[in-house]
């Protein structure tokens, strides 16, 4: 099913990094490890898809912490890096399908920045697989749930971030780094529904 095929399109830097990561012996997965994952979600697609996943009563891991953006194109290298630095075990951006960005190319910029962050993480000996870019439409609740599940499983395999520190909240740090760029979370599902309407315009 296309709906559940969430493999992020091959990113050159990401692919090379994934190969490098494969060379390291796999550690046994700690069953008690609950990763903290930051999701930078676009208001027009992934955020609405998350709301739809909820309405559809789909199950996905509770490890993800969402931050809503007006577009993934607002995401800068430093925002991803700050989340990692604050000890997030994984970070991903979820934007619109390629070619369907509300602002034309925001999601393509986001992919480039995510790939650049993968390169930077390699420089500092952090597994580049800890950051990723996903694309989905607002109608793809199942794809949102599948992405959250796939990424959470990936991070569980990788284990906790070596940068984790007690008392540091990666979600709060990422929000702080974004400043006014991050949008407030919707108080009720009706807010997300409005986003869907906005997308249809």
């Amino acid at each position: 099913m296309a709906d559940t095929d969430v493999k992020a399109p091959a990113a050159e830097a990401g692919e090379a990094a994934a190969e490098a990561a494969d060379e390291t012996p796999k550690k046994p997965v700690d069953p008690n490890f609950e990763p903290e994952i930051i999701v930078f979600a676009c208001h027009y697609c992934a955020y609405a898809a998350a709301d739809l996943a909820g309405s559809m009563r789909l199950q996905y891991p509770t490890n993800i912490r969402m931050i809503k953006l007006p577009c993934t194109g607002k995401l800068e290298v430093i925002h991803l890096l700050k989340a990692i630095e604050a000890g997030a075990d994984g970070v991903y951006a979820a934007g619109c399908l390629e070619g369907e960005c509300h602002y034309l190319k925001g999601n393509l910029w986001a992919r480039k920045r995510v790939n650049h962050v993968k390169d930077l993480l390699q420089e500092v000996d952090i597994d580049p697989a800890r950051v990723e870019m996903y694309n989905m439409s607002s109608a793809e609740g199942a794809k949102f749930a599948a992405a959250a599940t796939e990424f959470t499983e990936r991070i569980k395999q990788l284990g906790p971030s070596p940068l984790r520190r007690d008392g540091v909240n990666a979600h709060a740090a990422a929000r702080e780094a974004l400043g006014g760029t991050a949008m407030p979370d919707d108080p009720t599902p009706s807010g997300a529904a409005t986003a869907q309407e906005g997308h249809a315009e």
């Binding site: 800068e76 430093i78 890096l81 990692i84 630095e85 420089e123 500092v124 070596p162 940068l163």
Partner: protein, 227 residues
């Protein structure tokens, strides 16, 4: 503008050595425009240095700042407090800015985080091409606005050489990309300008003593010096 490229992280870490308080200082003029060493890039490098130190089990304090221009004393005053609180400054400015910092804040260590590489123009977004060699004796009035000093691989003043073919130079760039033959470009534009005769004009040896080979250069504008 002056362009620069960031050094590899390992090299920067080696330059910093065992210093604990590190200030990453960006420069918000040329190197910010070429997306290498402005405040944004300084913040990214500071974050990388903190992450790597934590990974290596080293305790460091890394902050970042940026001067509007590191090559002017007045702008350095604005970041003096932060510089003086640091054990070492990692400067992301061009070679001029780094030296200004090192001179003003001596004996504090100021280390380069970038390699200054050329005077380039942004041909398109995120692509810079070398356009000037600051040779001190400009000839582009005779060469149709195309600099043979930096755009001809041999800096020929009476080109082209025998290595020009189909408008391309026999030399390729660092990534094996083709380079336009500067003298072919000059010929084409001279034709457009109706100045073909300039092509056969003999240019005697250039005054290279006005270039960097004549020792460090100095410029003084007496009429503008403060009284």
């Amino acid at each position: 503008m002056i362009t620069a490229e960031r050094k590899p992280l390992d090299e920067i870490i080696e330059l910093v050595g065992d210093k604990k308080k590190i200030l990453v200082a960006g420069c918000d003029t040329c190197v910010a425009i070429c997306l290498t060493g402005g405040e944004k890039e300084a913040e990214i490098l500071a974050s990388e240095l903190r992450i790597k130190a934590q990974q290596d089990g080293r305790e460091v304090e890394v902050e970042h700042t940026a001067a509007i221009r590191q090559c002017e004393w007045e702008y350095l005053d604005m970041i003096a407090e932060k510089v003086e609180a640091a054990d070492v400054v990692v400067s992301m400015a061009c070679g001029i800015g780094i030296q200004s910092m090192a001179e003003k804040f001596s004996p504090r260590l100021v280390m380069p985080a970038v390699n200054t590489n050329m005077l380039g123009m942004p041909q398109e977004h995120a692509v810079w091409l070398e356009r000037c060699g600051a040779c001190g004796d400009c000839v582009i009035g005779e060469t149709a606005g195309i600099c043979p000093v930096v755009r001809c691989s041999k800096s020929l003043m009476n080109g082209p050489c025998g290595g020009s073919h189909d408008g391309l130079c026999e030399v390729t760039g660092p990534d094996k990309e083709e380079i336009d033959c500067a003298w072919h470009l000059i010929w084409e534009r001279l034709k457009e300008q109706g100045r073909e005769e300039m092509m056969i004009k003999n240019r005697p040896p250039k005054k290279w003593n006005l270039s960097s080979s004549g020792g460090p250069r100095k410029m003084v504008r007496e009429e503008a010096k403060p009284v």
